[in-house]
Symmetry: C2
Subunit: 311 residues, 2 copies
Protein backbone atom coordinates (compact mmCIF):
# COMPACT_ATOMS: atom_id res chain seq x y z
CA UNK A 1 0.00 0.00 0.00
CA UNK A 2 1.33 3.45 -0.95
CA UNK A 3 2.45 5.76 1.83
CA UNK A 4 1.31 9.37 1.91
CA UNK A 5 2.95 11.84 4.28
CA UNK A 6 0.80 14.88 5.05
CA UNK A 7 2.10 18.06 6.65
CA UNK A 8 -0.34 20.74 7.66
CA UNK A 9 -2.40 22.35 10.36
CA UNK A 10 -4.84 20.72 12.73
CA UNK A 11 -7.06 23.52 13.91
CA UNK A 12 -10.20 24.87 15.43
CA UNK A 13 -12.27 26.82 12.92
CA UNK A 14 -15.18 29.12 13.62
CA UNK A 15 -17.06 29.91 10.44
CA UNK A 16 -19.77 32.35 9.44
CA UNK A 17 -21.48 31.82 6.12
CA UNK A 18 -24.78 33.22 4.80
CA UNK A 19 -26.27 29.92 5.99
CA UNK A 20 -25.30 30.12 9.63
CA UNK A 21 -22.34 30.10 11.95
CA UNK A 22 -20.42 27.52 13.92
CA UNK A 23 -18.69 27.40 17.27
CA UNK A 24 -15.11 26.13 17.27
CA UNK A 25 -15.18 23.01 15.10
CA UNK A 26 -12.52 20.67 13.74
CA UNK A 27 -10.56 22.26 10.89
CA UNK A 28 -7.06 22.65 9.48
CA UNK A 29 -5.40 21.78 6.19
CA UNK A 30 -4.03 18.41 7.36
CA UNK A 31 -7.47 17.41 8.63
CA UNK A 32 -9.17 18.02 5.29
CA UNK A 33 -6.27 16.52 3.32
CA UNK A 34 -6.22 13.43 5.55
CA UNK A 35 -9.97 12.86 5.39
CA UNK A 36 -9.96 13.20 1.60
CA UNK A 37 -6.94 10.92 1.12
CA UNK A 38 -8.53 8.32 3.42
CA UNK A 39 -11.12 7.67 0.71
CA UNK A 40 -8.36 5.83 -1.17
CA UNK A 41 -6.34 2.77 -0.40
CA UNK A 42 -3.36 4.52 1.22
CA UNK A 43 -1.40 4.46 4.44
CA UNK A 44 -1.25 8.12 5.42
CA UNK A 45 0.34 9.95 8.32
CA UNK A 46 0.03 13.52 9.53
CA UNK A 47 2.86 15.69 10.84
CA UNK A 48 1.38 18.57 12.81
CA UNK A 49 1.04 20.17 16.23
CA UNK A 50 -1.84 20.86 18.62
CA UNK A 51 -2.31 21.99 22.21
CA UNK A 52 -3.73 19.75 24.88
CA UNK A 53 -7.06 21.53 24.33
CA UNK A 54 -7.42 19.46 21.15
CA UNK A 55 -10.04 16.79 21.89
CA UNK A 56 -8.88 13.20 21.85
CA UNK A 57 -12.01 12.37 19.81
CA UNK A 58 -10.60 14.41 16.91
CA UNK A 59 -7.38 12.40 16.87
CA UNK A 60 -9.42 9.19 17.19
CA UNK A 61 -11.58 10.30 14.28
CA UNK A 62 -8.44 10.53 12.10
CA UNK A 63 -6.92 7.35 13.51
CA UNK A 64 -10.13 5.42 12.82
CA UNK A 65 -9.71 6.30 9.16
CA UNK A 66 -6.28 4.72 8.99
CA UNK A 67 -4.52 8.08 9.34
CA UNK A 68 -1.39 7.74 11.48
CA UNK A 69 -1.22 10.58 14.01
CA UNK A 70 2.04 9.59 15.70
CA UNK A 71 3.62 12.61 13.98
CA UNK A 72 1.22 15.00 15.71
CA UNK A 73 2.98 16.76 18.58
CA UNK A 74 0.70 17.57 21.53
CA UNK A 75 2.08 20.55 23.41
CA UNK A 76 1.28 20.28 27.07
CA UNK A 77 -0.38 23.47 28.30
CA UNK A 78 -0.43 24.79 24.73
CA UNK A 79 -3.38 25.94 22.66
CA UNK A 80 -4.34 24.66 19.23
CA UNK A 81 -4.19 26.92 16.17
CA UNK A 82 -7.48 28.83 15.79
CA UNK A 83 -8.92 30.46 12.71
CA UNK A 84 -12.19 32.30 12.33
CA UNK A 85 -13.60 33.70 9.11
CA UNK A 86 -16.73 35.12 7.57
CA UNK A 87 -17.87 34.55 3.99
CA UNK A 88 -19.53 37.12 1.75
CA UNK A 89 -23.10 36.50 0.61
CA UNK A 90 -22.01 34.98 -2.72
CA UNK A 91 -19.28 32.95 -0.90
CA UNK A 92 -16.71 34.25 -3.37
CA UNK A 93 -14.71 36.14 -0.78
CA UNK A 94 -14.02 35.82 2.91
CA UNK A 95 -12.72 37.95 5.71
CA UNK A 96 -10.44 36.53 8.38
CA UNK A 97 -11.80 37.54 11.77
CA UNK A 98 -9.25 35.84 14.03
CA UNK A 99 -5.95 34.02 13.55
CA UNK A 100 -4.32 32.66 16.69
CA UNK A 101 -1.20 30.69 15.76
CA UNK A 102 -0.71 29.40 19.33
CA UNK A 103 1.38 26.17 19.29
CA UNK A 104 1.89 26.55 15.55
CA UNK A 105 4.11 29.60 16.13
CA UNK A 106 7.09 27.57 17.35
CA UNK A 107 6.34 24.30 15.61
CA UNK A 108 9.36 22.16 14.69
CA UNK A 109 7.99 19.28 12.64
CA UNK A 110 9.33 15.78 13.28
CA UNK A 111 8.68 13.16 10.61
CA UNK A 112 8.15 9.70 12.20
CA UNK A 113 10.74 7.13 11.13
CA UNK A 114 8.14 4.98 9.41
CA UNK A 115 7.09 7.85 7.15
CA UNK A 116 10.56 8.94 6.04
CA UNK A 117 10.19 6.65 3.02
CA UNK A 118 6.78 8.00 1.94
CA UNK A 119 5.86 7.54 -1.71
CA UNK A 120 4.06 10.86 -1.91
CA UNK A 121 4.44 13.91 0.32
CA UNK A 122 1.61 16.43 0.54
CA UNK A 123 2.83 19.72 2.02
CA UNK A 124 -0.34 21.50 3.13
CA UNK A 125 -0.56 25.27 3.33
CA UNK A 126 1.62 26.55 6.19
CA UNK A 127 4.97 28.28 6.79
CA UNK A 128 7.36 27.31 3.95
CA UNK A 129 10.13 26.85 6.55
CA UNK A 130 8.12 24.00 8.05
CA UNK A 131 7.49 22.55 4.60
CA UNK A 132 11.22 22.68 3.86
CA UNK A 133 12.16 21.11 7.20
CA UNK A 134 9.95 18.11 6.37
CA UNK A 135 11.55 17.62 2.96
CA UNK A 136 15.00 17.64 4.59
CA UNK A 137 14.04 14.87 7.02
CA UNK A 138 13.08 12.40 4.28
CA UNK A 139 15.48 9.50 3.82
CA UNK A 140 14.84 9.15 0.11
CA UNK A 141 13.35 11.33 -2.61
CA UNK A 142 9.61 10.54 -2.75
CA UNK A 143 8.01 9.78 -6.10
CA UNK A 144 6.13 13.04 -5.81
CA UNK A 145 6.13 16.09 -3.57
CA UNK A 146 3.03 18.25 -3.79
CA UNK A 147 2.91 21.72 -2.23
CA UNK A 148 -0.07 23.88 -1.43
CA UNK A 149 0.42 27.48 -0.39
CA UNK A 150 -1.33 30.85 -0.31
CA UNK A 151 -0.83 34.57 -0.77
CA UNK A 152 0.04 35.11 2.94
CA UNK A 153 3.43 33.40 2.42
CA UNK A 154 4.05 35.39 -0.76
CA UNK A 155 3.42 38.59 1.16
CA UNK A 156 5.54 37.73 4.20
CA UNK A 157 8.07 34.98 3.50
CA UNK A 158 8.54 34.99 -0.26
CA UNK A 159 12.21 33.95 -0.18
CA UNK A 160 11.46 30.90 1.99
CA UNK A 161 8.57 30.03 -0.27
CA UNK A 162 10.69 30.25 -3.44
CA UNK A 163 13.30 27.99 -1.79
CA UNK A 164 10.78 25.24 -1.12
CA UNK A 165 9.08 25.68 -4.51
CA UNK A 166 12.44 24.73 -6.08
CA UNK A 167 12.31 21.35 -4.35
CA UNK A 168 8.83 20.15 -5.24
CA UNK A 169 7.10 18.46 -8.18
CA UNK A 170 3.56 19.81 -8.07
CA UNK A 171 2.32 23.15 -6.80
CA UNK A 172 -1.36 23.81 -6.17
CA UNK A 173 -2.23 27.47 -6.02
CA UNK A 174 -5.28 29.56 -6.80
CA UNK A 175 -5.60 31.85 -9.81
CA UNK A 176 -5.06 35.12 -7.96
CA UNK A 177 -2.04 33.67 -6.16
CA UNK A 178 -0.55 32.44 -9.44
CA UNK A 179 -0.94 35.97 -10.79
CA UNK A 180 0.60 37.48 -7.67
CA UNK A 181 3.54 35.09 -7.72
CA UNK A 182 4.39 35.80 -11.37
CA UNK A 183 2.96 39.23 -12.08
CA UNK A 184 1.29 37.70 -15.15
CA UNK A 185 -2.42 38.07 -15.80
CA UNK A 186 -2.61 35.20 -18.31
CA UNK A 187 -2.70 31.91 -16.41
CA UNK A 188 -0.90 30.23 -19.31
CA UNK A 189 2.00 32.65 -18.91
CA UNK A 190 1.84 32.38 -15.11
CA UNK A 191 2.08 28.59 -15.26
CA UNK A 192 5.04 28.76 -17.64
CA UNK A 193 6.84 31.08 -15.24
CA UNK A 194 6.10 28.86 -12.23
CA UNK A 195 7.50 25.87 -14.15
CA UNK A 196 10.76 27.81 -14.31
CA UNK A 197 10.77 28.16 -10.53
CA UNK A 198 10.94 24.37 -10.19
CA UNK A 199 7.66 22.46 -10.28
CA UNK A 200 7.15 20.17 -13.26
CA UNK A 201 3.40 20.30 -12.66
CA UNK A 202 1.37 23.41 -11.90
CA UNK A 203 -2.22 23.14 -10.68
CA UNK A 204 -4.17 26.39 -10.73
CA UNK A 205 -7.39 26.26 -8.71
CA UNK A 206 -10.19 28.57 -9.77
CA UNK A 207 -12.76 27.71 -7.10
CA UNK A 208 -16.23 27.38 -8.60
CA UNK A 209 -14.57 27.76 -12.01
CA UNK A 210 -12.59 24.54 -11.79
CA UNK A 211 -8.90 23.71 -11.92
CA UNK A 212 -6.15 23.68 -14.55
CA UNK A 213 -3.21 21.27 -14.66
CA UNK A 214 -0.13 22.33 -16.62
CA UNK A 215 2.90 20.24 -17.54
CA UNK A 216 4.82 22.35 -20.02
CA UNK A 217 2.57 22.63 -23.07
CA UNK A 218 0.20 19.93 -21.83
CA UNK A 219 -2.90 21.41 -20.24
CA UNK A 220 -5.88 19.73 -18.64
CA UNK A 221 -8.96 21.36 -17.17
CA UNK A 222 -11.60 19.99 -14.82
CA UNK A 223 -14.64 22.07 -13.88
CA UNK A 224 -16.11 22.26 -10.44
CA UNK A 225 -19.39 20.38 -10.37
CA UNK A 226 -22.23 22.91 -10.72
CA UNK A 227 -24.07 22.73 -7.39
CA UNK A 228 -27.52 23.90 -6.36
CA UNK A 229 -26.13 25.26 -3.13
CA UNK A 230 -22.67 25.85 -1.70
CA UNK A 231 -22.85 25.89 2.05
CA UNK A 232 -19.28 26.47 3.31
CA UNK A 233 -16.19 26.63 1.09
CA UNK A 234 -13.79 26.11 4.03
CA UNK A 235 -11.41 23.25 3.32
CA UNK A 236 -12.39 22.81 -0.33
CA UNK A 237 -8.84 23.53 -1.55
CA UNK A 238 -7.32 21.18 1.03
CA UNK A 239 -9.86 18.49 0.19
CA UNK A 240 -8.96 18.90 -3.47
CA UNK A 241 -5.27 18.48 -2.58
CA UNK A 242 -6.06 15.44 -0.44
CA UNK A 243 -8.08 13.76 -3.16
CA UNK A 244 -5.38 14.56 -5.73
CA UNK A 245 -2.47 13.25 -3.65
CA UNK A 246 -4.43 10.34 -2.15
CA UNK A 247 -5.51 9.10 -5.57
CA UNK A 248 -1.95 9.33 -6.94
CA UNK A 249 -0.56 7.50 -3.91
CA UNK A 250 -3.12 4.71 -4.24
CA UNK A 251 -2.71 4.26 -7.99
CA UNK A 252 1.11 4.58 -7.91
CA UNK A 253 1.03 6.20 -11.32
CA UNK A 254 2.25 9.76 -11.74
CA UNK A 255 1.87 10.03 -15.51
CA UNK A 256 0.16 13.14 -16.87
CA UNK A 257 -2.76 10.96 -17.99
CA UNK A 258 -3.29 9.66 -14.47
CA UNK A 259 -2.80 13.09 -13.00
CA UNK A 260 -5.84 14.21 -15.03
CA UNK A 261 -7.84 11.62 -13.14
CA UNK A 262 -6.36 12.79 -9.87
CA UNK A 263 -7.63 16.29 -10.68
CA UNK A 264 -11.10 14.90 -11.33
CA UNK A 265 -10.99 12.98 -8.04
CA UNK A 266 -9.86 16.07 -6.15
CA UNK A 267 -12.65 18.14 -7.72
CA UNK A 268 -15.13 15.40 -6.93
CA UNK A 269 -14.28 15.34 -3.23
CA UNK A 270 -14.20 19.14 -3.02
CA UNK A 271 -17.74 19.21 -4.41
CA UNK A 272 -18.90 17.26 -1.35
CA UNK A 273 -16.80 19.20 1.15
CA UNK A 274 -18.67 22.47 0.48
CA UNK A 275 -22.10 20.96 1.08
CA UNK A 276 -21.89 21.15 4.89
CA UNK A 277 -19.97 23.10 7.52
CA UNK A 278 -16.39 22.04 8.19
CA UNK A 279 -15.51 18.36 7.88
CA UNK A 280 -19.04 17.06 8.40
CA UNK A 281 -19.70 15.98 4.84
CA UNK A 282 -16.26 14.40 4.41
CA UNK A 283 -16.62 12.36 7.58
CA UNK A 284 -19.75 10.64 6.37
CA UNK A 285 -19.07 10.37 2.66
CA UNK A 286 -19.59 6.88 1.21
CA UNK A 287 -17.83 5.16 -1.68
CA UNK A 288 -21.18 4.93 -3.48
CA UNK A 289 -21.71 8.68 -3.27
CA UNK A 290 -18.19 9.30 -4.59
CA UNK A 291 -18.68 6.95 -7.51
CA UNK A 292 -22.07 8.30 -8.41
CA UNK A 293 -20.69 11.82 -8.55
CA UNK A 294 -17.69 10.71 -10.60
CA UNK A 295 -20.27 9.56 -13.14
CA UNK A 296 -21.75 13.05 -13.03
CA UNK A 297 -18.27 14.49 -13.70
CA UNK A 298 -17.94 12.20 -16.67
CA UNK A 299 -21.35 13.27 -18.05
CA UNK A 300 -20.44 16.89 -17.41
CA UNK A 301 -17.18 16.91 -19.32
CA UNK A 302 -16.90 14.03 -21.76
CA UNK A 303 -18.21 14.33 -25.29
CA UNK A 304 -18.42 12.05 -28.28
CA UNK A 305 -15.26 12.75 -30.21
CA UNK A 306 -16.55 10.77 -33.21
CA UNK A 307 -19.29 13.37 -33.57
CA UNK A 308 -16.88 16.27 -33.22
CA UNK A 309 -15.56 16.22 -36.76
CA UNK A 310 -18.47 15.70 -39.14
CA UNK A 311 -17.41 15.30 -42.74
CA UNK B 1 -27.75 21.65 -47.02
CA UNK B 2 -29.27 22.95 -43.78
CA UNK B 3 -30.64 26.49 -43.76
CA UNK B 4 -29.72 28.86 -40.96
CA UNK B 5 -31.57 32.15 -40.55
CA UNK B 6 -29.64 34.77 -38.60
CA UNK B 7 -31.17 37.92 -37.14
CA UNK B 8 -28.91 40.51 -35.60
CA UNK B 9 -27.06 43.75 -35.99
CA UNK B 10 -24.61 44.76 -38.67
CA UNK B 11 -22.61 47.55 -37.15
CA UNK B 12 -19.62 49.79 -36.96
CA UNK B 13 -17.57 49.15 -33.83
CA UNK B 14 -14.81 51.32 -32.37
CA UNK B 15 -12.88 49.43 -29.72
CA UNK B 16 -10.30 50.34 -27.11
CA UNK B 17 -8.44 47.52 -25.41
CA UNK B 18 -5.18 47.56 -23.43
CA UNK B 19 -3.52 46.54 -26.70
CA UNK B 20 -4.65 49.46 -28.83
CA UNK B 21 -7.68 51.07 -30.37
CA UNK B 22 -9.51 50.88 -33.66
CA UNK B 23 -11.35 53.31 -35.89
CA UNK B 24 -14.84 52.28 -36.98
CA UNK B 25 -14.51 48.68 -38.07
CA UNK B 26 -16.97 46.00 -39.12
CA UNK B 27 -18.93 44.62 -36.17
CA UNK B 28 -22.39 43.53 -35.06
CA UNK B 29 -23.89 40.32 -33.74
CA UNK B 30 -25.09 39.06 -37.14
CA UNK B 31 -21.65 39.66 -38.63
CA UNK B 32 -19.88 37.54 -36.03
CA UNK B 33 -22.61 34.89 -36.05
CA UNK B 34 -22.54 34.71 -39.84
CA UNK B 35 -18.77 34.47 -40.11
CA UNK B 36 -18.67 31.72 -37.47
CA UNK B 37 -21.52 29.74 -39.04
CA UNK B 38 -19.87 30.02 -42.46
CA UNK B 39 -17.15 27.66 -41.22
CA UNK B 40 -19.73 24.87 -41.54
CA UNK B 41 -21.60 23.45 -44.48
CA UNK B 42 -24.72 25.62 -44.18
CA UNK B 43 -26.80 27.96 -46.28
CA UNK B 44 -27.18 30.99 -44.04
CA UNK B 45 -28.96 34.28 -44.47
CA UNK B 46 -28.94 37.47 -42.44
CA UNK B 47 -31.92 39.68 -41.62
CA UNK B 48 -30.69 43.10 -40.58
CA UNK B 49 -30.56 46.78 -41.42
CA UNK B 50 -27.80 49.26 -42.32
CA UNK B 51 -27.53 52.79 -43.64
CA UNK B 52 -26.08 53.59 -47.03
CA UNK B 53 -22.84 54.47 -45.22
CA UNK B 54 -22.24 50.71 -44.82
CA UNK B 55 -19.48 49.80 -47.30
CA UNK B 56 -20.43 47.44 -50.11
CA UNK B 57 -17.19 45.55 -49.40
CA UNK B 58 -18.62 44.46 -46.06
CA UNK B 59 -21.71 42.99 -47.69
CA UNK B 60 -19.50 41.37 -50.34
CA UNK B 61 -17.32 39.92 -47.61
CA UNK B 62 -20.38 38.16 -46.16
CA UNK B 63 -21.75 37.19 -49.54
CA UNK B 64 -18.42 35.67 -50.55
CA UNK B 65 -18.75 33.32 -47.58
CA UNK B 66 -22.10 32.00 -48.81
CA UNK B 67 -24.06 34.24 -46.43
CA UNK B 68 -27.22 35.49 -48.12
CA UNK B 69 -27.65 39.24 -47.49
CA UNK B 70 -30.91 39.72 -49.39
CA UNK B 71 -32.60 40.16 -46.00
CA UNK B 72 -30.41 43.15 -45.16
CA UNK B 73 -32.37 46.36 -45.61
CA UNK B 74 -30.27 49.32 -46.77
CA UNK B 75 -31.90 52.57 -45.64
CA UNK B 76 -31.19 55.31 -48.11
CA UNK B 77 -29.76 58.35 -46.31
CA UNK B 78 -29.66 56.36 -43.07
CA UNK B 79 -26.72 55.66 -40.82
CA UNK B 80 -25.57 52.25 -39.64
CA UNK B 81 -25.74 51.23 -35.96
CA UNK B 82 -22.55 52.34 -34.18
CA UNK B 83 -21.12 51.03 -30.91
CA UNK B 84 -17.96 52.08 -29.17
CA UNK B 85 -16.53 50.51 -26.03
CA UNK B 86 -13.45 50.40 -23.87
CA UNK B 87 -12.14 47.33 -22.05
CA UNK B 88 -10.56 47.27 -18.60
CA UNK B 89 -6.92 46.22 -18.27
CA UNK B 90 -7.80 42.62 -17.43
CA UNK B 91 -10.46 42.61 -20.21
CA UNK B 92 -13.03 41.32 -17.74
CA UNK B 93 -15.21 44.40 -17.93
CA UNK B 94 -16.03 47.02 -20.50
CA UNK B 95 -17.56 50.43 -20.61
CA UNK B 96 -19.84 51.49 -23.44
CA UNK B 97 -18.65 54.86 -24.74
CA UNK B 98 -21.16 55.42 -27.53
CA UNK B 99 -24.33 53.71 -28.75
CA UNK B 100 -25.98 55.23 -31.82
CA UNK B 101 -28.94 53.08 -32.87
CA UNK B 102 -29.48 55.04 -36.11
CA UNK B 103 -31.35 52.85 -38.65
CA UNK B 104 -31.78 50.14 -36.03
CA UNK B 105 -34.20 52.35 -34.08
CA UNK B 106 -37.09 51.86 -36.51
CA UNK B 107 -36.08 48.51 -37.96
CA UNK B 108 -38.93 46.28 -39.15
CA UNK B 109 -37.32 42.97 -40.08
CA UNK B 110 -38.47 41.21 -43.24
CA UNK B 111 -37.57 37.54 -43.62
CA UNK B 112 -36.88 36.68 -47.28
CA UNK B 113 -39.29 34.07 -48.71
CA UNK B 114 -36.49 31.55 -49.24
CA UNK B 115 -35.55 31.63 -45.56
CA UNK B 116 -39.05 31.23 -44.11
CA UNK B 117 -38.45 27.47 -44.01
CA UNK B 118 -35.09 27.70 -42.19
CA UNK B 119 -34.02 24.60 -40.24
CA UNK B 120 -32.42 26.63 -37.47
CA UNK B 121 -33.04 30.25 -36.50
CA UNK B 122 -30.38 32.17 -34.58
CA UNK B 123 -31.84 35.28 -32.97
CA UNK B 124 -28.83 37.46 -32.19
CA UNK B 125 -28.84 39.97 -29.37
CA UNK B 126 -31.18 42.85 -30.21
CA UNK B 127 -34.64 44.19 -29.33
CA UNK B 128 -36.88 41.22 -28.38
CA UNK B 129 -39.71 42.78 -30.42
CA UNK B 130 -37.58 42.32 -33.54
CA UNK B 131 -36.75 38.74 -32.50
CA UNK B 132 -40.46 38.02 -32.04
CA UNK B 133 -41.41 39.59 -35.36
CA UNK B 134 -39.00 37.23 -37.13
CA UNK B 135 -40.45 34.16 -35.42
CA UNK B 136 -43.96 35.22 -36.52
CA UNK B 137 -42.91 35.46 -40.16
CA UNK B 138 -41.72 31.85 -40.38
CA UNK B 139 -43.93 29.56 -42.42
CA UNK B 140 -43.16 26.46 -40.33
CA UNK B 141 -41.70 25.79 -36.91
CA UNK B 142 -37.91 25.43 -37.36
CA UNK B 143 -36.15 22.43 -35.81
CA UNK B 144 -34.49 24.80 -33.41
CA UNK B 145 -34.74 28.46 -32.42
CA UNK B 146 -31.76 29.82 -30.51
CA UNK B 147 -31.91 33.20 -28.77
CA UNK B 148 -29.08 35.35 -27.49
CA UNK B 149 -29.83 38.38 -25.35
CA UNK B 150 -28.30 40.64 -22.73
CA UNK B 151 -29.01 42.56 -19.52
CA UNK B 152 -30.03 45.73 -21.44
CA UNK B 153 -33.28 44.06 -22.54
CA UNK B 154 -33.93 42.75 -19.02
CA UNK B 155 -33.56 46.29 -17.70
CA UNK B 156 -35.72 48.00 -20.32
CA UNK B 157 -38.05 45.58 -22.11
CA UNK B 158 -38.40 42.62 -19.77
CA UNK B 159 -42.01 41.80 -20.74
CA UNK B 160 -41.15 41.64 -24.45
CA UNK B 161 -38.12 39.52 -23.65
CA UNK B 162 -40.16 37.06 -21.57
CA UNK B 163 -42.66 36.77 -24.42
CA UNK B 164 -40.01 35.75 -26.93
CA UNK B 165 -38.23 33.48 -24.42
CA UNK B 166 -41.47 31.46 -24.28
CA UNK B 167 -41.20 30.71 -27.99
CA UNK B 168 -37.63 29.49 -28.28
CA UNK B 169 -35.70 26.25 -27.71
CA UNK B 170 -32.25 27.41 -26.64
CA UNK B 171 -31.27 30.56 -24.79
CA UNK B 172 -27.64 31.70 -24.57
CA UNK B 173 -27.01 34.13 -21.75
CA UNK B 174 -24.05 35.01 -19.54
CA UNK B 175 -23.78 34.09 -15.87
CA UNK B 176 -24.58 37.55 -14.51
CA UNK B 177 -27.55 37.86 -16.84
CA UNK B 178 -28.86 34.43 -15.80
CA UNK B 179 -28.65 35.59 -12.18
CA UNK B 180 -30.38 38.88 -13.00
CA UNK B 181 -33.18 37.17 -14.93
CA UNK B 182 -33.95 34.71 -12.12
CA UNK B 183 -32.70 36.38 -8.94
CA UNK B 184 -30.85 33.13 -8.19
CA UNK B 185 -27.14 33.09 -7.40
CA UNK B 186 -26.71 29.36 -8.08
CA UNK B 187 -26.47 28.81 -11.84
CA UNK B 188 -28.08 25.38 -11.38
CA UNK B 189 -31.13 27.00 -9.83
CA UNK B 190 -31.07 29.82 -12.39
CA UNK B 191 -31.08 27.33 -15.27
CA UNK B 192 -33.97 25.39 -13.73
CA UNK B 193 -35.97 28.59 -13.47
CA UNK B 194 -35.18 29.61 -17.06
CA UNK B 195 -36.35 26.17 -18.22
CA UNK B 196 -39.72 27.03 -16.70
CA UNK B 197 -39.85 30.22 -18.77
CA UNK B 198 -39.83 28.12 -21.95
CA UNK B 199 -36.43 27.07 -23.31
CA UNK B 200 -35.69 23.34 -23.23
CA UNK B 201 -31.98 24.14 -23.40
CA UNK B 202 -30.16 26.80 -21.39
CA UNK B 203 -26.60 27.80 -22.27
CA UNK B 204 -24.84 29.90 -19.64
CA UNK B 205 -21.69 31.61 -20.91
CA UNK B 206 -18.98 32.39 -18.36
CA UNK B 207 -16.45 34.11 -20.64
CA UNK B 208 -12.93 32.93 -19.87
CA UNK B 209 -14.50 30.40 -17.48
CA UNK B 210 -16.29 28.45 -20.19
CA UNK B 211 -19.92 27.61 -20.86
CA UNK B 212 -22.58 25.37 -19.33
CA UNK B 213 -25.37 23.60 -21.22
CA UNK B 214 -28.45 22.53 -19.26
CA UNK B 215 -31.33 20.32 -20.40
CA UNK B 216 -33.28 19.56 -17.24
CA UNK B 217 -30.96 17.49 -15.08
CA UNK B 218 -28.47 16.93 -17.90
CA UNK B 219 -25.51 19.30 -17.65
CA UNK B 220 -22.48 19.70 -19.88
CA UNK B 221 -19.55 22.05 -19.42
CA UNK B 222 -16.91 23.20 -21.89
CA UNK B 223 -14.03 25.40 -20.75
CA UNK B 224 -12.68 28.31 -22.72
CA UNK B 225 -9.29 27.41 -24.13
CA UNK B 226 -6.60 28.88 -21.86
CA UNK B 227 -4.87 31.48 -24.02
CA UNK B 228 -1.54 33.24 -23.62
CA UNK B 229 -3.10 36.50 -24.62
CA UNK B 230 -6.62 37.77 -25.17
CA UNK B 231 -6.57 40.75 -27.48
CA UNK B 232 -10.19 41.87 -27.91
CA UNK B 233 -13.23 40.04 -26.48
CA UNK B 234 -15.69 41.86 -28.80
CA UNK B 235 -17.87 39.39 -30.65
CA UNK B 236 -16.76 36.32 -28.69
CA UNK B 237 -20.31 35.58 -27.47
CA UNK B 238 -21.76 36.06 -30.95
CA UNK B 239 -19.05 33.90 -32.46
CA UNK B 240 -19.85 31.21 -29.88
CA UNK B 241 -23.53 31.42 -30.86
CA UNK B 242 -22.62 31.27 -34.56
CA UNK B 243 -20.42 28.21 -34.10
CA UNK B 244 -23.08 26.55 -31.96
CA UNK B 245 -25.97 27.17 -34.36
CA UNK B 246 -23.88 26.66 -37.50
CA UNK B 247 -22.62 23.27 -36.32
CA UNK B 248 -26.15 22.14 -35.38
CA UNK B 249 -27.52 23.29 -38.74
CA UNK B 250 -24.79 21.45 -40.65
CA UNK B 251 -25.04 18.20 -38.67
CA UNK B 252 -28.88 18.23 -38.58
CA UNK B 253 -28.80 16.57 -35.17
CA UNK B 254 -30.23 18.40 -32.18
CA UNK B 255 -29.73 15.63 -29.60
CA UNK B 256 -28.17 16.61 -26.28
CA UNK B 257 -25.09 14.56 -27.22
CA UNK B 258 -24.59 16.54 -30.40
CA UNK B 259 -25.32 19.80 -28.65
CA UNK B 260 -22.30 19.09 -26.44
CA UNK B 261 -20.20 19.08 -29.59
CA UNK B 262 -21.86 22.27 -30.75
CA UNK B 263 -20.79 23.89 -27.46
CA UNK B 264 -17.21 22.74 -28.07
CA UNK B 265 -17.30 24.10 -31.61
CA UNK B 266 -18.69 27.43 -30.40
CA UNK B 267 -15.97 27.67 -27.74
CA UNK B 268 -13.36 26.73 -30.29
CA UNK B 269 -14.32 29.54 -32.67
CA UNK B 270 -14.64 32.07 -29.84
CA UNK B 271 -11.05 31.25 -28.81
CA UNK B 272 -9.88 32.49 -32.21
CA UNK B 273 -12.17 35.52 -32.32
CA UNK B 274 -10.49 37.15 -29.30
CA UNK B 275 -6.99 36.90 -30.78
CA UNK B 276 -7.36 39.97 -33.00
CA UNK B 277 -9.46 43.12 -33.17
CA UNK B 278 -13.00 42.73 -34.49
CA UNK B 279 -13.65 40.17 -37.21
CA UNK B 280 -10.06 40.00 -38.46
CA UNK B 281 -9.23 36.57 -37.07
CA UNK B 282 -12.55 35.05 -38.11
CA UNK B 283 -12.19 36.29 -41.68
CA UNK B 284 -8.91 34.46 -42.19
CA UNK B 285 -9.43 31.35 -40.10
CA UNK B 286 -8.67 28.10 -41.92
CA UNK B 287 -10.22 24.64 -41.51
CA UNK B 288 -6.81 23.31 -40.47
CA UNK B 289 -6.50 25.84 -37.65
CA UNK B 290 -10.00 24.97 -36.44
CA UNK B 291 -9.29 21.27 -36.44
CA UNK B 292 -5.96 21.60 -34.73
CA UNK B 293 -7.54 23.60 -31.93
CA UNK B 294 -10.41 21.11 -31.62
CA UNK B 295 -7.67 18.57 -30.85
CA UNK B 296 -6.42 20.92 -28.15
CA UNK B 297 -9.93 21.07 -26.69
CA UNK B 298 -10.05 17.31 -26.64
CA UNK B 299 -6.69 17.11 -24.85
CA UNK B 300 -7.81 19.79 -22.44
CA UNK B 301 -11.01 18.12 -21.34
CA UNK B 302 -11.04 14.39 -22.08
CA UNK B 303 -9.65 11.91 -19.61
CA UNK B 304 -9.23 8.17 -19.52
CA UNK B 305 -12.36 6.89 -17.85
CA UNK B 306 -10.86 3.40 -17.50
CA UNK B 307 -8.27 4.90 -15.17
CA UNK B 308 -10.87 6.83 -13.19
CA UNK B 309 -12.11 3.93 -11.08
CA UNK B 310 -9.12 1.96 -9.85
CA UNK B 311 -10.01 -1.17 -7.95
Amino acid sequence: MGKLLIVGTLAFDAIESPFGKTDKILGGAATFIGLAASKYDVKSGIVSVVGDDFPKEYLDLLNDRNIDVSGVEIVSGGKTFFWSGKYSNDLNSRETLVTELNTLADFKPVVPEHFKDADVVMLGNLDPKIQMSVIKQLEKRPKLIVLDTMNFWMDHTLDDLLEVIKEIDVITINDEEARQLTNQHSLVKAAAQIHEMGPKYVVIKKGENGALLFEGNNVFFAPALPLKEVFDPTGAGDTFAGGFSGYLTATKNISFENMKNAIVHGSNLASFCVEKFGTERMQNLSKEEMESRLDQFTQLTQFNIELLNPS
